[in-house]
Symmetry: C2
């Protein structure tokens, strides 16, 4: 330990101003400092003012780790998403972050990209349940047993894109939206409708299968062409969508319209068309899902979801559940957000 000057030696730990420093400087006990700074009752106004002044002067900020250890609260919420660099998830995280910041709560981010990681995560990797007061799982399936187990252990969780009986959840109305999209195409006279779907990785997203299921249902009910070849995997990427549409176009009897389960794939499809000298909607109607940044540029008809708001709502739900005393059960709220169709040029 090299001594340099009077104060510093090994690093920030030595210089850190603690609650004790504040107490000493303000001539009160640490307990009083603690109370005063957290706006708890039973502190004389004058004392509180004094303590606050001293704290400010010393740039004192309570150590959240120590607080967590003593009080059990971390002031942190964890967020788990399947991928970070996709429009949809980035938007969700942005929505969550904005609300948490407002509440002065920090955000611990986990990318849970594979089934294996999901298991590790739920088994405790990262110890998120100790590091955070609550968790938002976005399109990462929790599973009923996990949900029950975690609920019993007192966890505060909000799921987005899936739901369990134990925790609050936000579902997008996939089924209704999918119906609206398909019906839109049917109304335009299409009966042979392709679908661009597909897993992007090993993780079982719930969302794609929901949408796909809805399409199948509807096809059957409306007596549309149910040829399985009409369903192609596009992996939720532009390239995937491009390739998938290529496959559809090369079919002996190609569809006359295509519903892409994401805008990325829809855009890839539009590009594919363009490369072949074709055009939407004349040669093929295309409808996407999300209304992301590219949708407007491509004149894409799509199902718009207010993703950022979903993130914000999820954050509010966790915060609300955190406000409930720990010995009481967390409230379970089930929300469904609408999805509206934005008709542009590709349909």
């Amino acid at each position: 330990m090299a001594q340099v000057g009077e104060e510093s030696s090994t690093g920030w730990r030595d210089k850190t101003v603690t609650i004790e420093d504040v107490a000493k400087e303000a001539n009160v006990s640490v307990a009083t400092v603690s109370r005063a700074l957290r706006d708890l009752p039973n502190v004389a106004p004058a004392t509180r003012a004094k303590v606050q002044a001293v704290a400010k002067e010393l740039s004192y900020v309570a150590d959240p780790t120590a607080a967590r250890l003593a009080a059990g609260r971390t002031g942190t919420v964890a967020v788990a998403v399947p991928v970070l660099d996709a429009w949809y998830f980035a938007k969700i995280v942005a929505g969550v972050e904005a609300v948490l910041k407002e509440a002065n709560v920090d955000l611990l981010l986990y990318a849970v990209t594979s089934e294996r990681e999901r298991e590790l995560f739920l088994a405790g990797r990262g110890a998120w349940w100790r590091r955070s007061d609550g968790l938002i799982m976005v399109d990462v399936e929790l599973g009923e047993e996990n949900a029950v187990r975690l609920a019993e252990s007192g966890a505060r969780i909000v799921t987005v894109g899936s739901s369990t009986p134990s925790f609050s959840s936000i579902l997008l109305d996939e089924v209704a939206a999918t119906k609206e999209a398909v019906e839109h195409l049917v109304a335009a006279g299409h009966t042979r409708i392709g679908v661009l779907s597909g897993e992007s990785n090993a993780l079982k997203f719930r969302v794609p299968s929901l949408r796909l299921g809805a399409v199948r249902d509807l096809k059957q009910r409306l007596g549309l062409d149910e040829d399985p070849e009409l369903e192609q995997e596009g992996g939720f990427s532009v390239e995937g969508g491009r390739d998938a549409l290529g496959t559809l176009l090369d079919l002996p009897e190609p569809p006359t319209a295509v519903f892409a389960l994401s805008d990325e794939m829809a855009v890839g499809a539009v590009d594919c068309l363009r490369r072949r000298g074709l055009k939407a909607p004349d040669d093929m109607a295309i409808i996407g899902f999300d209304d992301n940044d590219m949708a407007e540029l491509f004149g894409l008809t799509t199902m718009r979801q207010d993703v950022e708001r979903v993130g914000a709502t999820a954050a509010r739900l966790v915060l609300a559940s955190l406000a409930v005393p720990n010995h009481l059960p967390a409230p379970v709220e089930r929300m469904t957000t609408d999805i509206t169709m934005v008709v542009r040029e590709t349909s």
Copy 2:
């Protein structure tokens, strides 16, 4: 996996399992458990095995907060970015996350979007310096004084997109890339070159001004048109780029080529052209910056940077600095990553 319905006193669903529970169950002291589980030396192989087995059986995971309090390490790295829902930053964060996960380090995410937030953040909001072992600041200016202060207090920081004498940094070679882009346009015979630049918010990005400065330099050196009207702010967004190009086109003497400081703006420009029935590069050459997802779709000539890798490198740098004992100064490494031109159709 622990069995349901057995041993209710130790299952972690009822109460959190502590190191003491493990110690008791394994008939050793907590110190031994601690050593055994952290792969520290001086533990008999048999003891270690036993402890590990017990820990696994009880699903014990050490509480990171308690560990931090005792040892000063949090196992967490904080990342600060100006915005979350932009391609560039999402990629960076993804790159960081991947490396941190590998090292079993958690990621605390902060969006520092305004000058005010930057100040709050550096002043301690979120107490990131207590919650995390290190910090990666992406395009959030640290400032020399802050850098010095933080370095003295022993902080481990890596900056991306800016640099200070105190900490490791990763710079993209903005100047060289900008030159290459402009020279590319000049080589094609352009002398009146527009620039799409611009702040998206109150935060002083360093990057835009660097690029803009380089363009100005070069214009002067090459004797190109330096008309200030040729510089338009596009706010790094598609819409901004569209509008900015509109302004340029409406100039009495519009430029014949445009360099957009981001692909988003470049794409907006291409769209603007298209709406007016014009086309790149015939009516106007366009070159962007980033090579993001949209670039290829739009046939955009652009300067490609491997953003994800930058994130990964930043993460490795913090991890490396964390590996250095606290009483030693953290190593300062200064890296510059290349940017390469991708020539497509718009130039």
